[in-house]
């Protein structure tokens, strides 16, 4: 608890930089999923990524003989598994009577169940595959295990995703707000949909090492839901969500470093939830307090005829 800032050890710097970067990227990317009302899609993607992570590990071991737990190997696996599970869920709900929720849930069962299956199998191998013990950490996250190389992976993948978001800002915006209209402009909706999916998967993949596949959803949805309360502009919302995510990430890393045995992931999530709760209460106009006050000052006078849409 007594560690002053000057004595920050280099590992903590790496970890804090990593969680901050993860919070920033997932906060920003989560906004679009939130606005498309696909908050829980991120949950399915992150759970599914486990199969990709373990699968990539096994495949790398089988091909090269040496086991690598570097993100450069595991991230492509997670990207493929996450995208595959989403695409399968989409095609099931498009082509059968099952609704989105059910098909997403089934894919979660298959991919996460399969991931666990494979993970336990890997752990049973004898002689043991070196490095397999770290795979377990993807379930609950292990921010402390982040290396400098991992940090670069987070920076480059996250930076790439944010850059794409920036470049295609107006296309993604009009597609999210009014898909039919964007199609009438000639925007390729299928490809934009795919891009959104890829961005979401990228956001998930860089975060799972830090907070784990189970809690990843909170880094996508919670900062976005909090940010939405403060602003009526998409750009501000994305910037705010990124800042909220960054604050929760940095705070979580520092807090859990100060108290031995405190897992980083849950602390990050609870910080983000606290920000959400405060936003729900305090935000101007949309906040509960502001609305209660507005109702009181309005008194018994009837609500204005205009602005009825709420």
């Amino acid at each position: 608890m007594s560690a002053p800032w000057v004595e920050l050890d280099p590992t903590l710097v790496v970890v804090a930089a990593g969680t901050t970067a993860v919070g920033t990227v997932s906060g920003a990317l989560g906004c679009f999923a939130y606005l498309r009302r696909q908050g829980l899609v991120g949950d399915v993607v992150s759970h599914s990524a486990l199969l990709g992570v373990v699968g990539a590990f096994v495949l790398a071991h089988a091909l090269t003989g040496s086991a690598s737990r570097s993100l450069a190997v595991l991230v492509p696996g997670a990207l493929i598994a996450g995208t595959a599970s989403l695409a399968l869920a989409r095609s099931v709900s498009n082509r059968t009577r099952l609704n989105d929720d059910a098909s997403l849930g089934v894919m979660l069962s298959i991919f996460f169940g399969g991931g666990l299956f494979l993970l336990r199998w890997v752990q049973r191998q004898s002689p043991p595959i070196p490095g397999h013990t770290g795979l377990e950490d993807y379930i609950f996250g292990m921010a402390a295990a982040m290396t400098r190389a991992d940090l670069w992976m987070v920076f480059s993948l996250g930076g790439g995703a944010l850059l794409l978001l920036l470049l295609l800002w107006k296309e993604l915006k009009v597609f999210t707000f009014d898909p039919d209209f964007s199609r009438s402009l000639g925007l390729p909706s299928y490809r934009l949909d795919l891009l959104m999916m890829a961005l979401l998967v990228a956001g998930v993949v860089i975060g799972i090492q830090t907070v784990g596949v189970i809690l990843m959803i909170a880094l996508l949805v919670t900062p976005a839901a909090a940010a939405r309360q403060w602003t009526s502009r998409l750009s501000t919302m994305v910037l705010l969500a990124a800042s909220f995510g960054a604050a929760a990430g940095a705070g979580g890393a520092l807090l859990s470093a100060s108290e031995a045995g405190l897992p980083t992931g849950p602390v990050v999530v609870l910080l983000a939830t606290a920000i959400f709760a405060l936003s729900l209460l305090l935000a101007p106009r949309r906040g509960l307090i502001a609305r209660a006050r507005a109702r009181r000052t309005l008194g018994s006078t009837p609500p204005p005829a205009a602005g009825g849409a709420a």
Partner: protein
Amino acid sequence: MIQRRSREGSTEPLALEVEGLTVTYGKEPALWNADVRLGRGSLAAVVGPNGAGKSTLLKAALGVVPRVSGRVRVLGEDPARRRRLVAYVPQRTSVDWDFPTTVLDVVMMGTYGRLGWFRRPGREERAMALGALEQMELADLADRQISELSGGQQQRVFLARALVQDAEVYFMDEPFAGVDAVTEQSVASLMGHLAQRGKTILSVHHDLATVPRYFEHAVLLNRVVQAVGTVKEVFHRGNLDRLYGGRVPADVPELAST
């Protein structure tokens, strides 16, 4: 590739030419073998019962839903090549009006097609959007969050967005649905104004009583096209009884009983 074109003498291409258009979402076709031809400057209503494929006709003409069969020509070309000359006004209720954006922002989306990929709207686009808002009498709401608008104001925002597109052909999906009297007047006068300038309008319309007042042409649709023509020619009791299976929904006083 032999293209045998045996069209009547006019050299100017039709605004909209739809042949053999069939669209199916599930088992039953939503639209069957539809032929619709509209000359430039037409002001046409698409009329028919619920589930008659009215919105589908618009979307297929825009080339945004896949079609089983059919050829669509907008001003003589494939709709994909006429995007810049076409404006689409979707149903007001098809979007989330709680989306974090402002009125001006939504209207500026009308410039996105012209801007192309990557380019951001600038001062010029902003000025165009403001001009369109002015025209729809919404200038003072430019910076308003869209969730604070009334239904009529939302509709006028959508129309302003279409105006910014500065198109030749306008597809509108129920622009009169659930709007106040002021908006109804302004939508009607906008349509008339556009048609006078030679623009073509095809609009899904629900209120049978106002068809003769606001439109010059009508497309009677119930999965198949029953009739296309001027309101005088096709919009009569006999056709409507057939269209609605003998149950014309509202009292339509202005109909001649011919």
